[in-house]
């Protein structure tokens, strides 16, 4: 195969590709150290400073630039994401469990669920608002209307993740437990659930992440109180200051930190498993 020449070329390409993905972040990272409060969100850097980071935490003397209204919004977003995660995961696990058996109408139900991730946020947001305003006659809140649209959006992801996991799940371990006299309910708790737990975890992660960063649905359906993405949107529709960049850098670093910890933990457990396997080979 000509992969001998192709592979290095593509390797360089992939490096450029990753640079393309991260380019804006680098710029954003540099500009977050812009001088404050006069320095704007553009080049050149007037003077390097950590002003905007301090500003973010309210550690700077008051100025004409209001701090990002992230405090309460952050709390709301976290709560909403948590609620969404739990609901979507429970629904997803249940539906995927049902799909382990063939039943009539499986195709329709499958596409009905998947539709939730295919319909753009503006549409579900708009439709839910219309329904709330004109039919049900309730006020919109992040914990009512926005919440249901978030679940509509994340439930399909949780469902697909669980479906993929359960498709590879060997049902004979459950039958083995039954044949040992263990009731189906206890079998689910002691056998099925522990085995699908990694899948449940990634379904939860998906749901949480998607909901936390959800914007278009929330824009229409959340009513008065803002979630974090709405708060950010609110500031930049007026004027941008490097404090948003600083905030972006903070969240990125936070993500990296989480991932690194996760990666190290995984690496350790894999190495341990390998060690045992190697001892196995030797003996």
């Amino acid at each position: 195969m000509e992969s001998k020449t192709l592979k290095p070329i593509l390797a360089v390409y992939v490096a450029a590709f990753i640079l393309f993905l991260y380019g804006p972040f680098i710029v954003l990272g540099i500009l977050s150290f812009q001088q404050g409060p006069e320095g704007g969100p553009q080049f050149p850097i007037i003077e390097w400073s950590t002003y905007w980071y301090k500003h973010l935490f309210g550690l700077t003397p008051p100025s004409r630039i209001a701090p990002l209204p992230v405090g309460e919004a952050l709390l709301r977003s976290l709560t909403l994401a948590f609620m969404t995660m739990v609901t979507a995961t429970v629904l997803g696990v249940m539906a995927a469990q049902a799909f382990r058996r063939r039943f009539r109408g499986a195709g329709i139900v499958f596409y009905l669920i998947v539709l939730g991730m295919m319909v753009p946020g503006v549409l579900t947001g708009l439709g839910t608002s219309l329904l709330a305003n004109n039919v049900v006659g309730i006020e919109r809140h992040w914990w009512t209307t926005a919440f249901v649209t978030h679940v509509v959006y994340t439930f399909p992801f949780a469902f697909l993740v669980m479906l993929a996991i359960l498709n590879r799940f060997d049902g004979s371990v459950e039958e083995a437990a039954w044949s040992l006299g263990v009731s189906p309910a206890r079998t689910f708790r002691k056998v099925t659930f522990p085995l699908i737990f990694p899948g449940v975890l990634s379904a939860m992660l998906f749901a949480f992440t998607l909901s936390f960063d959800e914007f278009p649905r929330t824009l229409f359906a959340s009513g008065r109180d803002q979630t974090l993405p709405l708060a950010i949107y609110g500031t930049f529709s007026v004027e941008i200051h490097p404090n948003i960049f600083a905030f972006g850098v903070m969240t990125t670093l936070f993500s990296f930190a989480l991932l690194t910890v996760y990666g190290i933990l995984m690496g350790l457990s894999v190495r341990r498993a390998k060690k045992i396997a190697m001892q196995e080979d030797i003996s």
Partner: protein, 360 residues
């Protein structure tokens, strides 16, 4: 209970999947404290039969009795019947020890921890897994997994254990050893094993009783010797993979086949006339040799070494393959030349004849 009492009984069990009938009105009485092997080719319904007995599937019609009780409507976990899966189905997240203790720990009976641990330890010793108690299933070999699966089932002290092709997932070299071990373990406990397999050698080697399943029906059951030496129909003879079968015509006291007309003394009732002679009773002769019976000219094609015996393939004039089995305990095999013609013959007393006309 006396030994000849039955452990479970199937009454007219039928199970359909859409248009397919997996089990066709099966009735079967299984003797207690025996090793029963159920031989069937793939698609004969043998796994369905096992799953119906275990309670993983329900029959469309018919009743199942187990130790004198009708269990047809009982769910699997209330039946007290053990099941050993082909892929072992061990709990991957539990250690060997916890796999074995699982049923006692999570069952409905109240068993003290101390008793659970001591019984599990006994089982570990019974199947020879000492030292591996803290491994997880990924860290043990196929043969060891097989033992864990067995121990996990036997700890519940079932009176009946169903084994679904338990040796199928094992390496060819390991199978022979596990066969002996399975039989020995069973003999130590008062338990019936119902072992399902597609391999005729395995079923003959393991069963005290062998039942042959074909298209959802049990077509013969008996001791391995009965099955092997006197198959009741050409179908059974075919599954055994030990018989050359010839079509022909049975009339009065003789059978007319591709080898001429041979006198027949005993005939098994069958709608079609078939003449069967075992591979190891068929011998190849050179032209001019004295023959023990009928003469069937055939061309030598190839031979296959099966280890302790050698099978030679011959082709008759009407392109039918005939096999000759030579066991090494009779000395070295003869050399045949590819393409050359030989005369196949056998002692006609060793043949089994099936036919619609039963000789008087």
């Amino acid at each position: 209970m006396a030994k000849n009492e039955s452990i479970f009984r199937l009454e007219n069990i039928t199970r359909r999947f859409g248009a397919l009938t997996a089990l066709d009105n099966i009735s079967f009485d299984a003797p207690r404290n025996e090793y029963i092997s159920l031989l069937g080719p793939s698609g004969s319904g043998k796994t369905s039969l096992l799953r119906v007995v275990a309670g993983f599937e329900k029959p469309d019609t018919g009743r199942i009795h187990f130790m004198g009780r009708d269990i047809t409507d009982l769910p699997a976990h209330k039946r007290g019947i053990g099941f050993v899966f082909q892929n072992f189905a061990l709990f991957p997240h539990l250690t060997v020890f916890e796999n074995i203790a699982f049923g006692l720990r999570n069952g409905t009976d109240d068993v003290t921890d101390a008793e659970i641990n001591s019984r599990a330890q006994d089982m570990v010793e019974l199947v020879g897994l000492e030292g591996l108690e803290d491994r997880v299933p990924d860290q043990i070999s196929g043969g060891q997994k097989q033992r864990v699966a067995l121990a996990r089932t036997l700890i519940m002290q079932p009176k009946l254990v169903l084994l679904d092709e338990p040796l199928g997932a094992l390496d060819a070299n390991l199978r022979g050893r596990m066969q002996t071990e399975l039989r020995q373990i069973r003999e130590r406990l008062d338990v019936t094993f119902l072992h399902v397999t597609g391999s005729e050698t395995e079923s003959l080697a393991m069963g005290d009783t062998v039942a042959v399943l074909d298209r959802g029906r049990i077509i013969q059951s008996g001791t391995p010797e009965q099955i092997h030496d006197t198959p009741s129909s050409p179908d059974v003879a075919l599954f055994l993979n030990r018989f050359n079968l010839f079509d022909g015509r049975l009339s009065a006291q003789s059978f007319q086949g591709p080898f001429g007309t041979v006198p027949v003394s005993y005939v098994c009732q069958n709608p079609k006339d078939v003449y069967a002679v075992r591979y190891d009773r068929t011998k190849a002769f050179r032209k001019g040799d004295a023959l023990p019976g009928p003469a069937l000219p055939a061309r030598f094609l190839a031979s296959e070494y099966l280890g302790s015996s050698i099978i030679s393939f011959f082709e008759t004039a009407d392109h039918k393959q005939v096999e000759v089995d030579h066991h090494l305990s009779f000395g070295d095999p003869d050399d045949y030349n590819v393409g050359e013609e030989y005369i196949l013959s056998w002692d006609p007393r060793h043949a089994i004849v099936f036919g619609s006309e039963v000789a008087a």
